[in-house]
Symmetry: C2
Subunit: 203 residues, 2 copies
């Protein structure tokens, strides 16, 4: 059994990142928030905070792609869209609009670490790797939508564009809902996206 502590830290980091962003999530708060031993950080994450963030991004990605892939395969693209949006709506409402998407946080911020970057210049390789991981998560979600649309008869190029629209607009809307402390934008966008998808499927 791989350490339970490690998993709690990763999940806690993902949660904190979704509420505060990458840079405002300190390792000390992760251990406080998850009631895990501080001394274990360097043991479970030899590459430090960078590694913890990386794992949190992958974790958050799977947390969504799991249910999404399942629903899409059993009930199709439109159900997938509804699931995707419903998942984010839950996250927003359960946290009283405090939590958003940790992957989006990585895509918006720049990870800076004063301890590792002695020369003042941010570690470009580290930042690029984080962006690659975030991009990979987005690509994975898009792939699921893309496959569903293809299976239901949408042409490849169109399916790619529609998948991009669904993921991007949902991510943007989640952030807007957080700013507005309201799920109204998500409901509006869901409605329009359903129209778009069903019109594309009808052809």
């Amino acid at each position: 059994m791989t350490s339970d502590t490690r998993a709690k830290m990763v999940a806690g980091a993902a949660d904190l990142m979704s509420r505060r962003g990458v840079n405002a999530t300190s390792m000390r708060e992760v251990v406080r928030h998850t009631a895990t031993p501080r001394g274990s950080i360097s043991h479970h994450f030899p590459r430090g905070k960078q590694q913890l963030i990386e794992d949190a991004v992958v974790f958050a990605g799977r947390q969504v792609s799991g249910p999404l892939e399942h629903l899409v395969q059993s009930r199709g693209a439109i159900a997938g869209l509804r699931t995707f949006i419903a998942l984010w709506r839950q996250t927003l409402e359960k946290s009283k609009f405090q939590a958003g998407c940790p992957v989006l946080a990585v895509a918006v911020e720049q990870y800076v670490n004063d301890a590792t970057e002695k020369d003042g210049a941010p570690d470009e390789a580290a930042q690029q790797h984080l962006l690659d991981l975030a991009d990979g998560v987005f690509a994975d979600w898009q792939r699921i939508m893309f496959t569903a649309l293809r299976r239901e008869g949408v042409a490849p190029a169109r399916a790619r564009r529609l998948a991009a629209l669904v993921i991007a607009s949902t991510e943007g809307t989640v952030a807007m809902c957080r700013a507005a402390r309201s799920a109204q934008p998500l409901e509006d966008v869901r409605q329009e996206l359903e129209l778009v998808l069903s019109s594309a499927l009808a052809k």
Copy 2:
């Protein structure tokens, strides 16, 4: 004439926020980046970093709403959409996909300031005010799109939803483009949004 230093600081803060996010943007870096005197911070911004961020959000909002409102009024909703997306595309490409949207950064992060929050709990009022400002900027952009759609015959409720879709999806796509270091998602989303709008206008 209101100090030129102050304006440079606000613009510099907005730029840094769009590249690094709110919390990774330090006042010392704003000063370095804009070649402004550090001693002037507390003079021009008596409420400190909080005030600087606030001004940067409003500044960034106007920077977009100005051109957007102009183009929308002279050439209509679809031209407005194209302008909105082209603006962000410029920001992305000119910065080699380093800069995104500073307002989105505020909507995604939580502003934490160790100096002001002695008790460990983040200043909730400050954070709420920042979210209100970000929400206001998004609402302003939506209002411009909404008005254009209304003028071109779209029903109120539909116009509201479409405006939300345009703003939210563009914001989300900008972040995705930053993660992917590519403008492809923006192009894909633009294409689909144009289809949606022109179909809504045709009715």
